[in-house]
């Protein structure tokens, strides 16, 4: 009798398990809760949120390091930190901002918005998506831990030129290499996922030339990632071998060549800078038409310009190396090819301005950030053309002019575009509009802060102040003081964004499905906030009325 009962209990529990499994497959909302929900999630919206929150955390860590640098440079002479530590700060600031803040933020936006914009239920490879994300906290945990190791963290600049990063590097360099490998694998897997999603999961009827510009720029960016991340992986592997296994890839004594390192690094590094800006172009190309209440001017030329920039990015790497002693022919080639990039970029700026022309413009917060992007990215682009001129570059090389240039394209460029995207899609993510007043404070404080920080660097650079040095000659004192004040202002004003975000998550003005009057695209057909599962059946799509390239 007793055995009969236990038999029945076993059968009962077996059928429970079967029911549970059925529930799991039909609806993921019955999945694990608490921390396991986030560790195991395969939902593109949850993973997108994880990416975005991770990059926000990295923005604040990298920003704190930047403020350590600016505090030290507030006055000439050594104030707070040792030169060795200063070197670690500049290196880690660059690495964290590039690989930890800007790139994951764009991947997070891609995760959230690409399935919504192409009408797909999720990313093509949801489990791989989970793995790509969780590699990142591991990678940056390892990278940040090097700061507490004996001999300190990486101190050779984010470009980690050999032999400074091999023969003369701190013992923690092998950990740095592993963390770059992990972040690189994460990017490659993310890129494969994005390509597979865009090429296969578009809703029936949506052709390639009907995709939103954000999807287009990400498709091209993903191909860039697949092409150059292996080069980065190769270069750090060679460093690892030089350090630990006695090879001489970059060691002249053993028959290697340190200049080879620079060629390999920048063959990765130049496409990498476009990886950090092309998705920004896509975001601005959505926001400007929305708030100008016009369709984007020159959709096709935008696509072709993006593709041209991507192809040209493989042909310009040596413009970072004009001062290493290239032959004249090579310097001329790389000078002209670099200047050529200004043409497709100019096409884009022209198209944005033509979209604004005679539009019914409102200056909502996303639009403010997008307009700020157009103006200040163009300043950075123009100083880039100045740097492309070989004889002038010999003067600018390794000065604060270079620092001013790449911060203008990355901060009011890439970062402002990410902020614009966050304000633009926050109603879709949280169901509430971002607080308008606080958003405007955030924008104007950021604009003033960013220009106070980086504009004087043009002048200190032209006057000859070298980068990556914790002390400077007295004549640069005023410019540096202004830069430091601006830096602190910019850094602290980003806290306003956290405030805005928390407020929007908790409540605020409710947003309808179509949160902006002039917005177009499939993401505005699902409710705000977007439910966990969307487009389980592909949405109807008619290019004649829905395509951004329609006539």
């Amino acid at each position: 009798m007793a055995s009969d009962t236990s038999q029945a209990t076993v059968q009962q529990s077996v059928s429970d398990v079967a029911q549970d499994e059925a529930a799991h497959t039909s609806h993921a909302s019955h999945g694990p809760t608490g921390i396991m929900r986030w560790l195991l999630t395969t939902n593109h919206k949850e993973i997108g949120s994880l990416y975005l929150l991770f990059s926000l955390l990295m923005l604040f860590i990298g920003g704190t390091l930047a403020l350590v640098i600016r505090a030290e440079l507030f006055q000439p002479g050594m104030q707070y930190i040792q030169p060795e530590f200063f070197n670690q700060m500049t290196t880690m600031h660059g690495l964290i901002m590039v690989f930890g803040a800007i790139m994951p933020a764009f991947v997070g936006l891609a995760n959230w918005m690409i399935p919504l914009q192409v009408g797909a239920p999720d990313m093509a490879l949801p489990r791989l998506n989970n793995f790509s994300f969780w590699l990142l906290p591991v990678a940056f945990g390892i990278l940040l831990s090097t700061l507490f190791m004996e001999g300190g963290g990486p101190n050779f600049g984010w470009t980690f030129y050999a032999p400074l990063s091999t023969t003369f590097a701190p013992p923690s360099t092998s950990f740095f290499i592993i963390s770059i490998h992990l972040a690189g694998i994460s990017s490659i897997l993310g890129a494969i996922n994005i390509i597979a999603t865009i090429l296969n999961l578009r809703t029936p009827g949506m052709r390639l030339m009907d995709m939103s510009l954000f999807v287009w720029t990400w498709l091209i960016t993903a191909f860039l990632l697949i092409a150059v991340m292996p080069v980065l992986a190769g270069v750090v592997t060679m460093m690892l071998m030089d350090i630990n296994f006695g090879t001489s890839f970059f060691n002249a004594a053993g028959g290697g060549d340190p200049v080879l390192f620079q060629h390999l690094f920048w063959f990765f590094g130049h496409p990498e800078v476009y990886i950090m800006i092309l998705p920004a172009f896509g975001i601005v190309s959505l926001i400007v038409p929305t708030f100008a209440r016009k369709r984007l001017f020159g959709y096709a030329s935008m696509v072709y310009a993006t593709a041209s920039i991507a192809i040209l990015s493989f042909l310009v790497w040596a413009h970072h190396m004009f001062a290493v002693g290239l032959p004249l022919t090579a310097e001329l080639f790389f000078m002209y090819s670099t200047m050529l990039i200004a043409v497709p970029t100019g096409v884009k700026v022209f198209n944005w301005i033509a979209t604004l022309f005679r539009g019914s413009i409102t200056f909502d917060v996303p639009m403010l950030f997008a307009l700020g992007f157009i103006v200040m990215f163009t300043i950075g682009g123009l100083s880039g053309v100045m740097l492309a001129i070989v004889p002038a570059d010999f003067q600018y090389h390794d000065t604060y002019f270079v620092v001013a240039h790449f911060h203008y394209v990355l901060v009011p460029g890439a970062l402002f575009a990410i902020m614009a995207a966050a304000y633009y899609w926050m109603p879709k993510w949280t169901g509430h509009y971002a607080n308008e007043t606080l958003g405007k404070w955030h924008f104007w404080m950021s604009v003033i802060g960013v220009n106070l920080t980086f504009f004087p660097m043009h002048f200190s650079g032209l006057a000859g102040m070298p980068r990556r040095i914790p002390d400077y000659a007295l004549q640069f004192a005023d410019f540096n003081m202004i830069s430091s004040i601006g830096g602190f202002m910019f850094g602290f004003s980003q806290l306003i964004f956290v405030w805005v975000l928390v407020k929007a998550i908790r409540g605020g003005e409710k947003a309808p499905a179509k949160a902006w009057e002039g917005a177009e695209g499939l993401e505005w057909t699902v409710p705000s906030p977007a439910p966990l599962h969307t487009f389980d059946t592909p949405p109807a799509y008619d290019p004649a009325t829905d395509s951004p390239s329609r006539h």
């Binding site: 494969i192 597979a196 296969n200 190769g234 001489s248 004594a253």
Partner: protein, 187 residues
């Protein structure tokens, strides 16, 4: 997830293709190392010269031209050696065989090893600088306090471009600790 079968098959195809591209780029990266060396050797970029003894070129001596060959020597960091070019300038005709002497001194107190790595400026002349005998083809060992004089026997190819009047040959002496000696793949 309710992605259709055809879409799933498409995803698999795309992933396969992107993995091939990825593999191709890994191969390309590995190929860049030998390609870079070949490129530098063919063009003479970076001032690289041949790494083993070359035969004498029999194109005759061009007495109408004179080339100033400047010889520079310096020690890399961390090495307790001194390298001096005893003949700092040698004036030669293209095609003529000449010799220059270098003196190596170990000023440290242990036996150690090093290797001199040459570089030619302007790099367009690197291909035309032929070495019949050079200490740079192998590594040197010196006891503490030992001094040796080693010769460089060279010839400038008469094909040297006309606009080159001066060639500078710089030797940098690098320490060859055991790790580097093991991995020195050109030995």
């Amino acid at each position: 997830m309710s992605v259709s079968q055809t879409a799933q098959a498409g995803v698999q195809r795309t992933v396969k293709k992107t993995l091939w591209v990825l593999l191709g780029m890994v191969g390309f990266t590995l190929a860049l190392i030998p390609l870079y060396d070949v490129f530098c050797e063919v063009t003479g970029l970076n001032g690289k010269t041949a790494e083993s003894a070359q035969i004498i070129s029999a194109k005759g001596v061009d007495e109408s031209r004179q080339i100033r060959v400047q010889l520079v020597a310096r020690s890399g960091s961390g090495l307790t050696w001194r390298l001096e070019a005893l003949d700092s300038v040698v004036t030669v005709h293209p095609g003529q065989i000449s010799q220059a002497r270098f003196q190596f001194t170990n000023v440290g107190d242990t036996r150690s090893s090093s290797r001199a790595v040459p570089s030619i400026t302007p790099s367009a002349g690197a291909r035309h600088f032929r070495k019949m005998e050079c200490f740079c083809f192998e590594q040197q060992w010196l006891k503490a306090g030992e001094t040796v004089q080693l010769p460089l026997v060279f010839q400038i190819d008469p094909d040297l471009p006309d606009d080159i009047k001066t060639l500078t040959l710089a030797y940098t002496l690098y320490p060859m600790d055991e790790v580097v000696a093991l991995g020195g793949f050109r030995d």
